[in-house]
Symmetry: C2
Subunit: 680 residues, 2 copies
């Protein structure tokens, strides 16, 4: 037993004996206690705040005296006067051990702090960013021992922070001399150390102590929208979020039309690359401006995106992704710089991390979903469905994870639907049909109440009722089926067959009228037979993908279903089940994960270990290619019914009884014709 | 003893037993014999040509039968028909071992071939370039095992060439897909592996077998001129050389005036950086065009330069180099890319290597001289003097190497001399004065004969006689001293004192007339007292630097002197000795090394091991700072006489007896005044 005082740190429980006079920060470092410091113990950064506890600690058999730490000193007083220290707090670099003591490290003083996600799921992110700040005192140059400023900075980092090796690009070399002299040989450097790097890269240098933090961006680069989450790299806090339309839409709504554009127009890929990079710069500038953050402080950026967007972001012609064998130019993760992507709206030395692609159809966005939802850590068999213009599916558990993508087309997003529109104010997002009266009631984005409630008209006075968005059309089709307006083959009955004048003739088929404002010069919002067919095709593709993965896994059922994506957050699990979008499962086990790809991007941004982890996981995922798999076609055709006809639905049967109706088959040839057109 | 046939390779002498049927290339590789191959043994690159020897080898106790190798095969016949194989040559990848055999590897088939330098010194360069070609067969993409093209290229390099890891920037990623498909999954890649790199960088990719070679540039970036040597990276041959004026001259003739320009003009450094990069692009484009080489094949470039040019090339403000403590932004070597330096006239992915700087006054050019002249490997004590606008000096042997720079000013280059000019046609480059008649005779650049020989006038008809260049003024001053026109203090005698009317009054002093063409409207070319003083200052600075290094080394004499630089190649060692530019040494031991800095650049370009070596050597060189050393001033003043007064000159006395003259001291105050002005 040492005679030196015993120091116990909480919450880690780490403990050790230290000589009287040892600074608390030194004790913490020697024990590997997670106590932050940017200035390296010089009493200027205040990151190492700790709270000593006094009194009896029977658990430890310890009595902590009031003088267990050294007296409050002048450095602490100066800091308290200037910035204020919370009562009970001390600076770990100033307070020294004088006797047995219990010391709490508050969360705000931990480097690897836990960030609790505010959204639906409970997973926390442990802060461990790739880029961090280091305050150093650099030797002044000496004519007799001539070394460069960079070499003396490297030595300071080695001596003061145990960082073995650094590298700096030319743009940093230019800043060294003025920075060092302005800071009188004290500077703060931002160092990036990638998970695969031996050498730390100097990203930025500031004279003296830099106190304005570091920030990063998690970017979800979708075909339609681009979302950015500006994140504080010290606290993990999302400071601001913003979205922007992907300007590539003008080259083609969906991915394949963009690939076609690149094929048909020489230089078309270059044009699309320039347009998305320009949009990113606008988005970054605007989100930084909104949060009043200097763009030079934006030192990290993580992208998740599908393979086509991945190639177009990188400036790689995507034509190979438009045809079998769907070869990626590169599938591994990428670590590059903002300069490489012309991202001039942030620090040009900012480090870019792009998650690995799983396959030519299953991109970094699916990898991000896997990082966020961790099917590889799930004990029960989970099916994760991320629906965008394409659907990506992951099926797995701790044993094995499978992935595929499925060409659902844009119907689930409200596109190619007669009254369809994007999810925006005025769009019908929820809908119910009374099974007795066959009358609909609905809710519109921008209004909090149902259309049959008092005051509804006032709530939509500015937006009007403009169309049906993705979640609305899914609910409409499912509700029509439940109300007996639709038979299992997807045929809409006539007014005579259904007993409601809302079923109106529409060419050789029928439509169901949801909202008729034509007398006021407004729109007629209806669900046509063509809309039903489009949804049937989309849901068949989605289900066939899931079913193919289940075949590959050798299972007939899944334990739970996770609906990821903005879309997943908005559709009702009951309606998804009625429609047969997903395999039969207990309602409570069909959950939404919110924007799982975006969450995956945030995790990769804040925690460097997760980057190595997702690279490993992606390497272990088995990719199933739907395009060449004959069984996909079989499942696709078999899944056409509502719900699909192949599997039993015991769980669905517990919550709803679907009417046993059958309308005439006259119009089924029309749907077949539509399908053939789509395939052509 | 193995029963397998014995294979002996010459000239290496490596030997081993190999199973019948083993290809010669395979045997060579297993023994570590240096036998080239780009295609990896596929019979298409023809780099692995070998010459089998037949008959009796008593030394080895071996009889080689005519059928010791397999029969000439169809692949060899096809190659011979198409390109021609020298008689007796075989392709090492096609010919297989059938019996005991002796195989010669001709120099052209060696990777690490020796390149004998054509210039004055005898040192050879062993080829071991950082960038080399690799032909690979890449797997076609497979939908079932989706990996990117880059990852399959990496696997091919691992499997076929044992290259563990590669990296590629975005501009290469863009080229992979078309390159692979055009080459039908056979491509040649140029890989750069730096001496400090774990990962090889893909510099270029070509469909199929690339047969047009790889090239690099060794650049000597001087304050006044920029010289480029375009070198074949496979053979080491210098394909073309070219020079260009450094356009920064318009910002200041010498380095310190350029530093001043940067100090006085905000953005002046940026302007100078842009101008030198533009000039480099012009130079590179012109030298490549002259040699008819595609600029995409220029994949390596090495720079040697002084510290101010170093910073201005890199885009770093050089102001710190204009004042004590002369701090460099970085002193270590740099490995960057052509893109970083805006060198768009070559492959933008070309790798740039810049030698390390020794100190703020002693640059990468001095490091290159050390690499070329290897003072660290010299058994006798060598003084290496590289004279430019500044002089860099190295003194050392296997024990220790010292370095300093000395502010000689531009007088040795003919600048700041009344009749001075750059070394160009029309300039007097050699001069003799008859000690009896005091009459001069001289040679002019562009003419092969002396001025007193028949037909001289015809040889200079187009150029005329325009001035005196650096070597000419040194010879003129030394000859004036030997002819008794100059006393040891440097004073020019009057016509009465010297007995020649060529000594004419010139203000309060005298000048010596070399050539008077004023009657024809031509120039009066003379040496003024001011010229003598300028040369005295320059040679005193040079000598004081050498003397300071000798003090530091604790020696009174050196064993030999090497004069490096274009200047060193042109001045006569006798005259340098008379002038007292260098310490006393036997005439035969004062030699010229030619453009040693340029040679060092070529070595670093062709041989990667030399880069690690010079970095180590530079780290071990002791830097002596002249600017702050009081003894430098003492040596400087003491070295004012011609030759200097401090040391005995027994070697000089063997070849010349200097007249014992003394002119009046009236004008010495003028020289003092000049010196004070210079210091101000």
């Amino acid at each position: 037993m040492s005679n030196d005082p015993l120091v116990i740190f909480t919450p880690s429980g780490k403990r050790g004996h230290f000589a009287i006079g040892t600074p608390v920060l030194t004790a913490a470092r020697q024990l590997g206690v997670d106590l932050d410091s940017v200035c390296g113990g010089r009493g200027i950064c205040s990151k190492c705040q700790i709270t000593p506890s006094y009194g009896e600690f029977p658990k430890h058999g310890l009595t902590v005296a009031k003088d267990a730490l050294s007296q409050w000193n002048a450095v602490e007083q100066r800091y308290d006067d200037k910035r204020g220290l919370k009562t009970g707090r001390r600076l770990g670099c100033q307070a020294t051990v004088q006797g047995d003591v219990v010391i709490d490290v508050p969360a705000s003083s931990q480097v690897h702090k836990q960030v609790v996600r505010k959204d639906v799921t409970a997973r926390t992110i442990t802060m461990d960013p790739a880029t961090r700040l280091y305050f150093i005192e650099v030797e002044a140059p000496d004519m007799h021992v001539p070394t460069g400023d960079l070499e003396r900075i490297a030595r300071a980092l080695r001596d003061q922070w145990d960082i073995p090796d650094i590298a700096a690009d030319l743009s940093i070399l230019r800043k060294l001399q003025p920075g060092l002299r302005k800071g009188q040989w004290q500077v703060t450097v931002a160092l990036h150390k990638g998970h695969n790097d031996d050498v730390a890269q100097v990203i930025e240098i500031w004279p003296g102590l830099h106190e304005n933090g570091l920030y990063g961006l998690a970017i979800d680069l979708g075909s339609t929208t681009i979302a950015a989450h500006l994140t504080n790299l010290e606290t993990g806090e999302v400071v601001a979020s913003a979205g922007i339309m992907n300007p590539q839409i003008r080259f083609g709504e969906d991915l394949m039309s963009r690939v076609s554009y690149a094929m048909m127009n020489p230089g078309g890929d270059v044009e699309m690359t320039a347009s998305v990079r320009e949009a990113l710069n606008e988005l970054i500038a605007s989100v930084a401006k909104g949060a009043a953050i200097d763009t030079a402080l934006l030192v990290e950026i993580v992208f998740v995106c599908n393979p086509v967007m991945h190639h177009l972001l990188l400036g790689i012609d995507p034509v190979e992704l438009g045809q079998a064998p769907f070869a990626l130019a590169t599938s591994d993760s990428l670590s590059i710089t903002a300069r490489d992507l012309d991202l001039t709206a942030m620090n040009i030395r900012a480090q870019v991390y792009i998650l690995p692609c799983i396959a030519g159809h299953v991109g970094a966005d699916a990898a991000a979903v896997a990082l966020s939802e961790e099917p590889n850590k799930s004990k029960d068999l989970v099916l994760i469905v991320d629906v965008g213009t394409n659907a990506e599916l992951l099926l797995g558990n701790t044993t094995r994870v499978l992935a595929c993508s499925s060409p659902t087309g844009p119907a689930f997003e409200g596109a190619q639907i007669s009254s369809g529109q994007r999810a925006a104010p005025g769009a019908i997002e929820h809908l119910e049909i009374n099974p007795d009266t066959k009358e609909p009631r609905f809710r519109v984005i921008g209004s909090d109440i149902w259309s049959d409630e008092d005051g509804f008209d006032a709530t939509i006075a500015t937006t009007g009722i403009t169309g049906i968005c993705g979640s609305g059309i899914i609910e409409a089709v499912a509700e029509m089926r439940m109300a007996g307006l639709l038979d299992p083959s997807g045929l809409i009955g006539s007014a005579e067959q259904t007993g409601t004048p809302r079923c109106i003739p529409d060419g050789r088929t029928h439509s169901y009228v949801i909202h008729d404002a034509t007398s006021d010069g407004g729109p007629l919002i209806s669900v046509t037979q063509g809309d039903i067919r489009a949804i049937q095709l989309a849901k068949s593709a989605l289900y066939a993908g899931a079913r193919l993965l289940m075949d590959e896994m050798g299972v007939e059922t899944v334990d739970r279903v996770v609906l990821a994506g903005a879309f997943g957050a908005h559709i009702s699990n009951k309606h998804a089940l009625v429609l047969g979008m997903v395999p039969d499962a207990p309602l409570a086990r069909i959950t939404s994960a919110g924007n799982a790809a975006g969450t995956g991007a945030r995790i990769a941004l804040c925690n460097i270990v997760s980057r190595a982890e997702i690279e490993r996981v992606v390497g272990e995922i088995t990719k199933v290619e739907t395009a060449i798999e004959p069984r996909f076609q079989e499942h696709f055709i078999a899944a056409n019914a509502i719900p699909h006809a192949t599997d039993p639905f015991p769980e669905l049967a517990k919550i709803v009884t679907l009417p046993d109706v059958s309308f005439n088959a006259k119009s089924s040839s029309a749907s077949g014709g539509r399908r053939r057109r789509r395939k052509g």
